[in-house]
């Protein structure tokens, strides 16, 4: 709860700074503030409490994920300093929206009442619509915003419908009550339908097949930093929320529901990976990669009671490598109108450090050992085999192989092609973010227990 309040306070502070004309200070202050919030969250790690009539429930799950979100937001805000340098007059708005978005995200993982869940997801979504469309002079950005908005509202409608049916069945929005009531027999069918509809809405948010179509278009069209946010923070938030939703409501996942999860997970991986193979736009490629990673993360839903740790680990691994990758993309594609792979030609020569970082993050996503992505997949496979879904794991393995194909396309472009122009100006902050993110990623790879054991 304190986390949430503090974050909102920061957001408001950000707006106030604009009023007092302290634009330059916004980014550093917010970063410091977020670090403080991070400390606060971590300090509350072991206290499991519920606040305000169980509206917000702080648990290990929520505080760990909140910390992850905060970390990601710090990175994204830091990158914003550079990204928005030509939009100084709007920087406070951008940062504020991001901070509020973070508030929504925190609400989503710590909700104790479906109202908070719904509002959280709407805060997140609306912020994202705005950020996606934020480059208002750019038609692509407009289109992305519009597409995301239309489909997102559609999905919101479905989520709302689902919540309504749950309420209809239970007469309450409180998850604890719902959870208790769900144990009893004689539930109206509205409840499972409601759960399924909410799940489908959330599947849309995590961009799982067949609800994934928006993702590539929106990722491609949005400003790069927004794409970074969507592909890291937003995706992770949505997955965590879906996980929490299903586990906390004790929805007694039926076998047939699990089959649905398996099918969707397989489809997401396969479609995501195969479609990514022929992409030339890096953001679009990463969008498809994100779809496949969503498929991986959905595997955690098959063993809800035990897989929180692995989800956290996977999410951290994925999002950290995503941040690292996107910071390189931001650097490379700054002042360019697209993110075509051509822009990356010869990066290995012109900027070996960033090329190495991008390579490392791609390798992490591909699941090559020593990077956290490998362990993420490993624990996931472990759990899934334990849950008895060997076939799913084999599909996942095959997909990992396919994924190497397109990750390496980018790596090849960096190292074997000749650079097409000289790049100058190496913003320190991009370096810092990229390096820290990848170092964190590798550290997670070297000491997976640090994260894995948090939630067990």
């Amino acid at each position: 709860m304190n986390t949430l309040i503090a974050i909102i306070g920061l957001g408001v502070l950000c707006l106030l700074f604009e009023i007092f004309n302290l634009r330059k200070a916004i980014v550093p202050i917010i970063i410091i503030g977020l670090l403080g919030v991070l400390g606060l969250t971590i300090s509350e790690f072991n206290s499991t409490e519920s606040y305000y009539n169980n509206m917000i429930v702080v648990s290990k799950f929520s505080s760990t994920f909140s910390s992850l979100f905060i970390v990601l937001t710090i990175f994204l805000v830091a990158l914003g300093h550079n990204f928005y340098e030509n939009h100084q007059s709007k920087i406070s708005d951008f940062i504020a929206i991001k901070v509020f978005l973070l508030a929504g995200a925190v609400a989503m993982v710590s909700f104790g009442n479906l109202a908070m869940f719904f509002l959280g997801i709407e805060v997140l979504s609306i912020s994202l619509y705005i950020l996606a469309a934020s480059n208002r002079m750019n038609l692509k950005s407009n289109e992305a915003g519009m597409k995301y908005f239309l489909m997102g509202s559609f999905a919101s409608g479905i989520i709302l419908f689902g919540i309504c049916l749950i309420y209809g069945a239970m007469g309450s929005f409180d998850v604890t009550e719902i959870s208790e009531l769900s144990q009893s027999a004689e539930l109206p069918i509205w409840f499972p339908i409601g759960i399924v509809l909410v799940t489908i809405g959330m599947l849309f948010k995590v961009a799982a097949v067949p609800f994934h179509f928006w993702a590539p278009d929106v990722y491609e069209g949005s400003p790069a930093l927004t794409t970074a946010l969507m592909s890291t923070l937003a995706k992770v938030v949505a997955t965590a929320t879906l996980y929490k939703l299903l586990s906390v409501m004790n929805a007694d996942i039926s076998e047939s529901f699990k089959i649905i999860v398996v099918v969707i997970s397989m489809a997401s991986m396969t479609v995501g990976n195969i479609m990514a193979l022929r992409q030339t736009n890096v953001k679009r490629m990463l969008a498809f990669s994100g779809i496949s990673h969503a498929g991986f993360m959905l595997m955690t839903l098959l063993s809800l009671s035990t897989s929180a740790g692995s989800l956290l680990y996977y999410a951290s691994a994925y999002s950290l490598s995503g941040i690292a990758a996107f910071s390189v993309i931001l650097y490379v594609c700054k002042n360019r109108d697209n993110e075509d792979i051509v822009n990356f030609h010869g990066l290995g020569k012109t900027n070996p450090l960033l090329a190495a970082i991008l390579t490392a993050s791609l390798l992490s996503m591909a699941g090559i050992p020593i990077f956290a992505g490998f362990f993420a997949k490993l624990v996931l496979f472990n759990q899934t085999i334990q849950a008895g879904y060997l076939a799913l794991v084999i599909v996942a393995v095959v997909n990992s192989i396919i994924s190497v194909g397109y990750y390496f396309k980018l790596i090849l472009a960096m190292y074997t092609k000749e650079p097409n122009e000289e790049r100058k100006g190496t913003p320190v902050i991009i370096y810092a973010v990229a390096v820290i993110a990848i170092v964190l990623n590798i550290a997670l790879g070297l000491f997976p227990s640090l994260v894995l054991d948090l939630l067990s």
Binding site: L114, A115, F118, L119, E122, I126, Y129, I130, A133, R136, M137, N138, L139, K140, N142, E143, A144, G145, M146, K147, F149, L150, S153, F154, S156, G157, L160, F161, I163, C164, L165, Y167, G168, G171, S172, F173, P216, D217, V218, E220, G221, Q279, R284
Partner: protein, 106 residues
């Protein structure tokens, strides 16, 4: 005080909402005019709101109605943002036909 649902039956409300919801969905799929699509989404949300109120009566519980307030807030916020996006598209494109938004694909 008599429960009004004794006269109508909750099923009828469910069917009404479902059909209304589906009309909303239909509208989203059927129309290419972004404004109308927005309206269809509003119809969807309203269908749900209606059901909330019906369930609220069904359970004799105010929470459902409280939720409708939030839902309205969300609807309002969405419309505001959506229309803002629409306006900027209109400025750039001179049209609000969503079929024209096909630059991003592949």
């Amino acid at each position: 005080m008599n429960n009004i649902l004794n006269h109508i039956g909750i099923e009828n409300y469910i069917f009404l909402s479902v059909i209304l919801f589906c009309i909303g969905v239909f509208g989203v799929l059927y129309r290419r005019n972004a404004i109308i699509v927005f309206m269809s989404i509003e119809i969807m949300l309203n269908a749900v709101n209606l059901l909330f109120v019906a369930f609220s009566t069904y359970h004799q519980d105010a929470q459902g109605q409280v939720f409708v307030f939030f839902s309205m807030a969300v609807a309002a916020a969405e419309v505001a943002v959506g229309l803002a996006i629409l306006v900027s598209i209109f400025r750039n494109l001179g049209s609000i036909t969503i079929d024209n938004l096909k630059n991003l694909k592949g």
